[in-house]
């Protein structure tokens, strides 16, 4: 297959491909001469795109510049972050609350930028948590996690957080089907077929971005893997790939790979909305957390909700349709016109491309091939536009360049393949280093891709960089796709294990009203200290509240006495600075949580329970001025029952003369 293809390509590519095939483990040499120039962004100059990359098992989202591959920021989302205090400060702890209590870690797989009319709009970024099912929304003015909603009746929130073209909904499909939350879950595991269900959640997104689960669809118990919304003509539909339609509950590697075809489930969500209006939804009791960040109080709030609206796919027959798709499909991607739906069967030797128009006709004319657990199965050929023959091994994901081309990653044959959507002909292929998973083209799953760069996020790194022992960073590669042939221009290591990523033109984000600091006059934190005059220490039983300020370069107060063993001390530190990039840190000896990193105008709280009698220094951890090393203070801790009075001061507790 590879040789045939090579004959048909230009000599220059032949040379490169021959070289790499005879020496596959050291392939840096396929880079051509002007690659460095294409990836070079001069010092002090900005990148052309922001790249929002999922962190995988780090639980966070990292932000890179393209084409330089420079790391701009890591935004804490689903995992605690001691360097910023996220998940450790009293204000941020509620963000990680769930129906299972406080969860300090998750597995973050996919990111999705908000869209208007099918185009990336630069307002928010959505991120999924795979392990304890949740969706987060990041505000791209502050690059902070603004909201997290938990998904009931779900496990392994994998086919998420994909959105409809006006960000009406962000969806979530369960990868691991499980008994529903309100059913008795204490059942034998081998009753999967009877007791396990797959739930698809449609989360409504409000004008200010606020998320609310509008409804869930109860579907057969299978593994829902990935999804994408219809767009343009197919707006109103959502497509979910599903595997394990064998409904195996053990040794899935073998038992979920039996059938030649699994399904892409097409969901008519406008129809679902009609059924809800007609009162066909059932209110089902459950329990899930909804956490929101308030930018005025600099504090998160967590609410537990107790009910969700469920529609049955079996009973309401014209919401869901199964499209047969070979074999154990993973990626489920819709082209910019909304006409073509690409299913990538991990174990298939071809890529099926479905036609939305043909699907609609097939449904209209009832070209069905029976039912799957009560859901009509559309005839494969009736919905099929065509198949890309022998594209490579192990197709996973597809993105689009807006010029009629699709780019699919192949894990097993470790390559990206460019093909023509209409003619289904393979146009080009490039090796990746090694075993690519997801890929990203800026706007590549929207109606308006910016088909200039393609980033491959690889699953295996091996010898790509200097060795760092058994554990290695993941590798990513940037390709220039502006010409007919894809050209490798840069390698860069990444944080965690990236899965999907999104990218947007830099101007769209940096001109969206980026916040540089929080206005101190708008600070409504209940423990804010607005000016050093208000600095104080208040005892209320065993609770001590320290109202503290920081400014270059001292804390007020910086001498505190009269704390006793058994007290719980809350340091509420307000950063009085009002300029960009002047955070102050706060750390105290023996704290069993983390530090605080306080942005200008913000108030953050660190809880500290002293365990020993003595003097405990605290200091600023973020180098803030020439006198940063002087930015420190002391807390005196006395035994329980001590008569040392509670005092606090700055600049007055002068050295004792005796």
């Amino acid at each position: 297959m590879k040789n045939k293809f090579l004959k048909a390509t230009l000599a220059i590519t032949m040379v490169a491909a021959l070289f790499s095939s005879c020496k596959p483990k050291n392939s840096g040499d396929v880079v051509s001469g002007d690659a460095a120039q294409k990836a070079y962004v001069a010092p002090g100059k900005y990148d052309e795109f922001y790249n929002f990359v999922s962190g995988g098992f780090s639980g966070q989202v990292s932000v890179y510049g393209l084409p330089s591959g420079r790391l701009l920021r890591v935004v804490p989302v689903f995992s605690v972050d001691p360097q910023s205090g996220y998940g450790f400060s009293e204000e941020t702890k509620p963000m990680l609350n769930t129906s299972h209590g406080f969860v300090p870690w998750d597995d973050q797989h996919h990111t999705e930028l908000s869209q208007t009319n099918g185009e990336v709009d630069g307002r928010w970024l959505f991120a999924n948590a795979n392990n304890t099912p949740r969706i987060a929304r990041l505000d791209l003015k502050t690059f902070k996690t603004a909201e997290i909603i938990e998904l009931p009746n779900s496990a392994g929130n994998h086919s998420s957080p994909f959105i409809t073209e006006n960000t009406e909904y962000v969806v979530a499909g369960t990868r691991f089907s499980v008994p529903s939350d309100n059913a008795n879950g204490d059942v034998p595991i081998n009753t999967y077929k009877k007791n396990f269900k797959g739930y698809l959640s449609f989360v409504k997104v409000g004008k200010e971005g606020q998320m609310d689960i509008a409804f869930q669809i109860e579907a057969p118990g299978v593994n829902f893997d990935l999804s994408h919304a219809g767009k343009g003509k197919s707006h109103g539909w959502f497509f979910f790939s599903c595997y394990n339609t064998e409904q195996a509950n053990t040794l899935l590697e073998v038992n979920a790979s039996q059938k030649d075809k699994d399904f892409i489930m097409a969901v008519n969500w406008k129809k679902a909305e009609e059924y809800i209006k007609a009162g066909k939804g059932k209110k089902v009791s459950t329990k899930y957390a909804h956490n929101t960040w308030d930018e005025k109080t600099h504090t998160a709030k967590s609410e537990i909700r107790n009910e969700v609206l469920v529609l049955s796919a079996k009973e309401l027959k014209d919401i869901c349709y199964m499209i047969p798709c070979p074999k154990s499909p993973h990626g489920c991607d819709v082209d910019p016109t909304g006409e073509y739906i690409v299913g990538s069967g991990k174990l298939a030797a071809l890529i099926p491309v479905f036609s939305f128009d043909k699907l609609q006709n097939a449904i209209k004319n009832k070209q069905f091939d029976g039912e799957y657990d009560g859901i009509p199965v559309v005839k494969y050929e009736a919905a099929l536009h065509g198949e890309v023959q022998k594209p490579g091994l192990g197709p996973l994901h597809t993105e689009f360049d807006g010029k009629g081309n699709a780019y699919t990653t192949f894990f097993v044959s470790s390559e990206v393949v460019k093909w023509d959507i209409k003619s289904l002909k393979v146009l080009d292929r490039v090796p990746t280093y090694y075993s690519v998973g997801h890929l990203c083209i800026p706007g590549g799953d929207s109606r308006k891709p910016f088909g200039k760069y393609l980033i491959a996020y690889n699953k295996i790194t091996k010898d790509r960089y200097l060795p760092t022992g058994p554990e290695l960073a993941q590798s990513a590669q940037i390709f220039d796709i502006s010409g007919d042939k894809m050209q490798l221009i840069l390698d860069f290591p990444t944080i965690g294990e990236p899965h999907y990523a999104q990218a947007a033109p830099a101007d769209l984000i940096r001109n969206n009203g980026q916040l540089k600091f929080f206005k101190i006059e708008d600070n409504k934190h209940p423990f804010a200290t607005k000016g050093e005059k208000e600095a104080k220490v208040v005892r209320n039983g065993k609770r001590i509240d320290v109202y503290m300020t920081s400014i270059r370069s001292h804390f007020a107060s910086d001498n505190i006495e009269g704390i006793k063993l058994g007290d719980e001390v809350y340091f509420h530190v307000t950063n009085l600075e009002q300029d960009w990039d002047v955070p102050h840190g706060f750390a105290i000896k023996g704290a069993d949580n983390a530090e605080l990193l306080i942005m200008p105008g913000e108030t953050c709280t660190l809880k500290w329970t002293p365990e020993k009698v003595g003097i405990f220094p605290f200091y600023c951890t973020d180098f803030c001025s020439a006198l940063h090393q002087e930015m420190q203070g002391y807390v005196r801790v006395s035994p329980a029952g001590s008569s040392v009075p509670l005092t606090f001061s700055l600049g007055t507790n002068l050295p004792a003369t005796k």
Partner: protein, 157 residues
Amino acid sequence: MYKLSLFIVALALFSSCGKKENATEDFSTGGAATEKTTDPSTYDPNRGLGKYSTVELGAQLDAAMAGEGEKIQSVKCSACHKLTDEKLVGPGWKGVTSRNKPEWIMNFITNPDPMIDKDPKVQAMLELCMVRMPNQSLSDTDARNVLEFMRKNDGVK
């Protein structure tokens, strides 16, 4: 392997001389802020650098404005400046309105960074204090009210 190396050399040569028309365009139109280069001889040490050329002061104190200014002072200024002539982090405020023109004060408190780089008085002060005065993001009204409070502190009735 030797032949292959030749190929690679040829490949590199080909692509480096054959792709000129595809040279990367400069997308970084908006790079990081570059320092504005102004001729030091045009710097007016009486006025400072900023949006204010002249600031009209009333013959008498506007007590209401001074009151507003004091509120701002307590949140945004008092951590570093005493109202006496004693230095804390920065210099004390006593006499500040007689040492400086009102437009200089208005420019400095709304636009400190460029003035720290240019102004001889401020540079001398920086050597003493070692801390660059932060931009505390004062609005025009805030700044004017703070100036009125400084006047009050200097004894204007």
